[in-house]
Amino acid sequence: MGTNDNFKRLAMSENGFLFDPQTGHSYTVNEISMEILSCLKRGMDESGIIKHIMDNYDVTEDQIKRDYNSFIVKLKQYSLYEETDKELAKKFKK
């Protein structure tokens, strides 16, 4: 997992409300983002998360890849996630 796994401390409610107990910030996310976040918290990697969502929702691989990437960008933007060099290298190889 990343060098910064701050997303793990987020408290999640069923309706997509997230609360960061350390900073006091709160966020709202949609159903797919909630699913991605739950998977990330369980320690799943990108390919596992994409497969999991494709198995449970009526979405194409392209759609869910776009959603996954844009969600990761948001997490980074709010300092809630940072990939390790190894993860970045793996991504770059792809």
Partner: protein
Amino acid sequence: MTIPKELVIAVTGLNAGENPQPGVPVIRSLRKAGFTGKIIGLVYDSFESGIYAPDMADEVYEMPYPSEGADAIMARLEYIMTVHTKIDVLVPTLDSELLPYISLENKLKSYGIKMYLPTREQFMMRDKTELGKLNENFGILTPKVLLINDTAQAYKIPEKMTLPVMVKGRFYEAYKAHNTEEITKYFNSLRAKWGLPIIIQEFLAGEEYNVSAIGDGKGNIVCSIPIKKTVVTEKGKGFAAVVIKDATLDKFTKNIMKSLKWRGPLELEILKSNKDKQYYLLEINPRLPAWIGLAIGAGQNIPEILVKLALGEKITPLKKYTVGKIFVRHSEDIILDIATMGELTSIGELHDLRTKPVTKRKSKFMDNKGG
């Protein structure tokens, strides 16, 4: 153990309007703690809205302003105690009255009035003009500060500090200034209101946090609640906030309390810098904050603990609290006859406020005019 109902507790600072003071949530906290005895409000202005709020103080007395000095305060308290009621515990809640009450602590004790306040030395150490010394003496990070006494010095600020800077009054108010024109403008307005020196503080971009705590005077924390204000008014007053938990912030708070050996309540204003992610101490307010009602929601009744400490009770330090509790401030109109307010204005006191709420009183003028 609940506070014995035979005791009489005096609380100051009952304004709950645009500029809310801690008195109203302090009284609410004591009531929520099960205290059914007499509470008296010590007020400076008949427009302090908490005077008229339901189930607050039993009696209210107008006090001389703190600027009139400790003797004037003492004379008024002697009148209240001689003519009307004893006072067992007094909880001052405003910055401006702390110094007179600190100087009266021993005298009031001889009258049976107990308080739990910082010492004069501690009070002076947290003065905005002295804050830099906490960095020098204890290694507590604080923004760089310059003190200026005239506009010529204001024009030299850009040579000494990167703009923008914060221009702060000695007691209240702070403005962000981007150039020397703005610095001189705020210098003049703050000098007229709060006197000299004017404090020029390095501007640090980041997130602000507040901590309300009580220190035992030996360097330990008796209770403490950290929050993040989520709605802030133009004057910087928090109208919504959430309780948080951050181990680094806790460590920073512990270091301050240990270094100062603070006795009594305080509110820390702390900034987490965007640049270096370090915590910086912005201010120490030597009293409970106006948001202290949130502490009960989080599981720590800080005003109740303060009163118990004043009474000499030993308190086991409270470590636990509930993260994620929030408050949202709500203001409401209280409707009453102006003649009731007039009673306070003319004779300086109001009685039986809990048994006969002002909203149900039929106060009339003698000539039946005025409705």
